[in-house]
Symmetry: C2
Subunit: 195 residues, 2 copies
DNA sequence: TTCTTTTTATATCGATCGTCACAAAACGCG
DNA sequence: CGCGTTTTGTGACGATCGATATAAAAAGAA
């Protein structure tokens, strides 16, 4: 029907993701994206739209995968406490291996873009809400089956666990020591064990 | 000796602070700063140096005041638990009143600038370390006098409290509801009360 | 006054920004 | 084979970026 694309969409979007993720929105130029993806800027515009649309596209793609990862952890039939352990273990391991200090793409967006862009603020709020809900449901299950002994409201515990997650994501951008991150998490699990 | 300055340094630095704080480093231009401060760009360069130097100057100024505020809270002779309450009450109240969703200038810097600028990363790490130390010393005092009953290591509790602080600062950039912020904090104090 | 020093405002530098016209190139379809 | 459609690369648009050269203006010192 027409001239075929010469690029692999997934490869290009992944390269664009990495660039936006590490450098942020403002510090990434369309020419940066062109260089990293091997495309020209007109091809980028033709294929995906303008800079903001590309950012939204790759962020949505990132969110989809991140939430799938969350779903895999919390949707598994592991005991609730085990799921939470796996969640924070993965978070800390991801941070430890994060040589470029990318942190979390959503958290980075929350700070740089969300305050002056309602669309992205809604996206970020939605993602944070989903994580909070994963936590809450997990904690409720644990309180029901007795493996989580604290009687504190699951809603507040979920809020704290979300807050701790975001805090760790901030520290991840500053090359924090692993001991600091594990120290944030240890009292959380002590809290779940208390009566 | 020479022509006197026509601007008030403190007023100018405060205006520059507000601009960098709300918009970030990359999204703020020297012309933005000139407009907001009422100066011309050559006058800014002559008085304070280049863009990065101005950012550093106003960030240092912000940090000085923020740490003074911390010192006032934790250096007071209030009981340790009361100091921690005052700290988080002030944090939540500041966030509630933060119509422009500025969040914390240091946290914003941690995410936007620190990953690719060692000087600012060191500054951020230092500030986080000081806050952590305020928390730790306060918790140790509370554990000594028996007002904080938990036997969990003060070092880890301080790390969690720092992490929660940073998490709240992230949420502050996304116009989060007050109930979410108070929910993050409530289990922290429940944790301090547990034996 | 004249000289020195610093701040001021005008005007602009080259570089880079996001974006796009344009036409050649590469396909399926008739 | 053209024909229509989409992608491609070249080149460049006006706007804005960080930073300055330049000189007039404003003070104290001589």
């Amino acid at each position: 029907m027409a001239r075929p694309r010469e690029f692999d969409e997934d490869t290009v979007l992944e390269a664009a993701t990495q660039r936006f993720w590490t450098n942020g929105y403002e510090a990434t130029s369309m020419r940066d994206l062109a260089d990293r993806t091997g495309m020209t800027t007109p091809s980028l515009y033709n294929a995906f739209g303008d800079k903001r649309a590309i950012y939204r596209l790759v962020l949505d793609r990132y969110v989809r995968r991140a939430l799938e990862s969350c779903s895999a952890i919390f949707g598994d039939d592991d005991p609730p406490l085990r799921a939470l352990e796996r969640y924070f273990d993965a978070l800390i391991e991801e941070t430890r291996a994060d040589a470029l200090q990318k942190g979390c793409f959503v958290v980075n967006t929350a700070l740089e873009v969300a305050p002056h862009d309602a669309d992205f603020r809604d996206l970020v709020t939605n993602v944070f809400g989903r994580i909070e809900k994963y936590m809450r449901d997990c904690i409720v299950r644990g309180q029901s089956d007795g493996t989580i002994r604290t009687k504190l409201p699951a809603a507040d515990l979920a809020r704290l666990f979300l807050g701790a997650t975001l805090g760790i994501r901030v520290l991840a951008r500053t090359s924090a020591e692993r001991e600091l991150l594990t120290g944030v998490v240890r009292p959380l699990f002590a809290l779940l064990r208390t009566k």
